[in-house]
Amino acid sequence: MKKLSKAYMALVLLFLYIPIFVLIVFSFNVTKSRSVFSGFTFDWYIKLFHNELILKSLLNTIIVAVAASVAATILGTAAAIGINNMKKLPKTLVMQGTNIPIVNPEIVTGVSLMLLFVFFAARMNFEFGFVTLIIAHITFDVPYVILNIMPKFRQMNPHIYEAAQDLGCSPVSAFFKVVLPEIMPGVVSGFLMSFTFSLDDFVISYFTSGATSQTLPITIYSMTRRKISPEINALSTIIFVVVVIVLVVKNIIERKSALKKEVK
């Protein structure tokens, strides 16, 4: 039984990883062939780093992801505090609304925002670009921030906020000294989630970006549409390596802090 489950695990992992490894191997191929490996080269990586369009869209992606996730974190944290203090009925209603972008198909969210932006663009004379793109990203990011923070309020002792005020804190400093540290893990994970979703988003960006604000996923999409280029393989390899490094570091940090807790 043990052997059987190990074999099964290996089979699924093979299915998950083979396509990625094929991309990586062929990113070093001399020719453009996708089946015959005819020699080792770094040419595609060099070409990649000289590709203005890719570098520009990488920069755009980072600008949008940082702006949207920071704004979403602030908006979402404030929202979570307010929602937590609401009565049952308005709370349920607001949470239902918050769930809409998560439950709805991405394409519907993208299309609905596009309709809104087209409507205003015609009347207020602006164009699709960074503003529309960042608004769209904030909109699909905020729900994840709120959903990450709400459970922290449930775990928190509600009386410590009152205790801080009894001991002489003003409501504002009581919030920053007592409440914020309690919900901080939720704020951080909400921010990280928003940031990664923004980096990775294609569908909603596709409908809400303009010609000047193309993000990396949109550029990748247009590259796959035009012709087969091993530059995409090189890009995939770099992204894969970055992802592996980030996740391994994150795992090590988590393991260390878990060990610390055990020691305490």
Binding site: M9, L23, I107, V111, L116, V244
Partner: protein, 268 residues
């Protein structure tokens, strides 16, 4: 003061979540001049075959995901605690690659001069037409959305108390009975959220069908995209199709919820 602090978000939600959805409904029921009409919704019916194909392919992909993910999640949840987080990370890692790149990878594998066909040609077989088929679309869906099925399943299974399973065995259940009488019912919330998390993106995708299905296997997502950004620009029809898509998803989810009495969903 405490209530006011959520005001900016409430405003944001109203303007960028609620109003856009109302606009979808408004566009679906109006002509380009803004007059009320049911023509757009009536026009959706000519795409019935595309709707049926989308539901069918998404359903197959969801079932395959469930079949592959269920044993895997069980193995993960029962494995040594010290390995679990590392194992889970290895399983989830491909999900962190952009899904366009993952789909592109299959494009290069399945093509007529791709790696799989050149492997077959070693034995004098093929080339088989694999790219631009419905099978390729289902494969792309399974590959992209499998982690969304594994994660919620693992989350519920990890919480199942081992002593419940031992109790079932003590009381005379064989391993198959334990699985179907104890583990499956207890993991029902995970199954339901897994199905939702795979089915919704699968039925509304337009990239996977375009990259792996060629031009002949259009799905609802392609249809919507064509009305907004493609050659056949018609946002009124596009809005009507989106509306029907939302209603279909809502209906399917309501039916599925009947199987799931206690409604505690596992989110991510």
């Amino acid at each position: 003061m405490k209530k006011l602090i959520s005001a900016p978000y409430l405003l944001w939600m109203a303007v960028f979540i609620i109003v856009p959805l109302i606009m979808v409904a408004y566009f679906a029921f109006t002509t380009t001049d803004g007059a009320f009409t049911l023509d757009n919704l009536a026009a959706v019916s000519q795409y019935t075959n595309i709707f049926i194909r989308s539901i069918w392919l998404a359903a197959i992909a969801t079932v395959i995901c469930l079949i592959i993910a269920y044993p895997l999640a069980l193995i993960l949840a029962r494995s040594d605690k010290s390995y679990q987080s590392a194992m889970l990370m290895i399983v989830m890692l491909p999900m962190w690659m952009n899904f366009l790149l993952r789909t592109y990878a299959w494009m290069t594998l399945l093509g007529n001069n791709g790696l799989i066909n050149s492997f077959f040609s070693l034995f004098g077989l093929g080339p088989f037409k694999m790219l631009n088929t419905q099978g390729a679309v289902v494969l792309g869906m399974v590959y992209n959305y499998l982690p969304y099925m594994i994660l919620p399943l693992y989350t519920v299974m990890e919480k199942i108390d081992i002593s419940v399973i031992e109790a079932a065995q003590d009381l005379g259940c064989n391993s198959r009975k334990t699985l179907f009488k104890v583990i499956v019912p207890l993991s029902m919330p995970g199954i339901m959220s897994g199905i939702t998390m795979v089915f919704v993106p699968a039925i509304s995708t337009f990239i996977i069908s375009r990259m792996l299905g060629g031009g002949s296997n259009l799905l609802i997502g392609d249809l919507i995209e064509m009305q907004f950004l493609g050659n056949s620009y018609n946002p009124n029809l596009g809005a009507a199709i989106s509306l029907v898509l939302m209603v279909i998803i809502l209906l399917i989810m309501t039916i599925l919820n009947q199987f799931d009495e206690d409604d505690d969903r596992v989110l991510m």
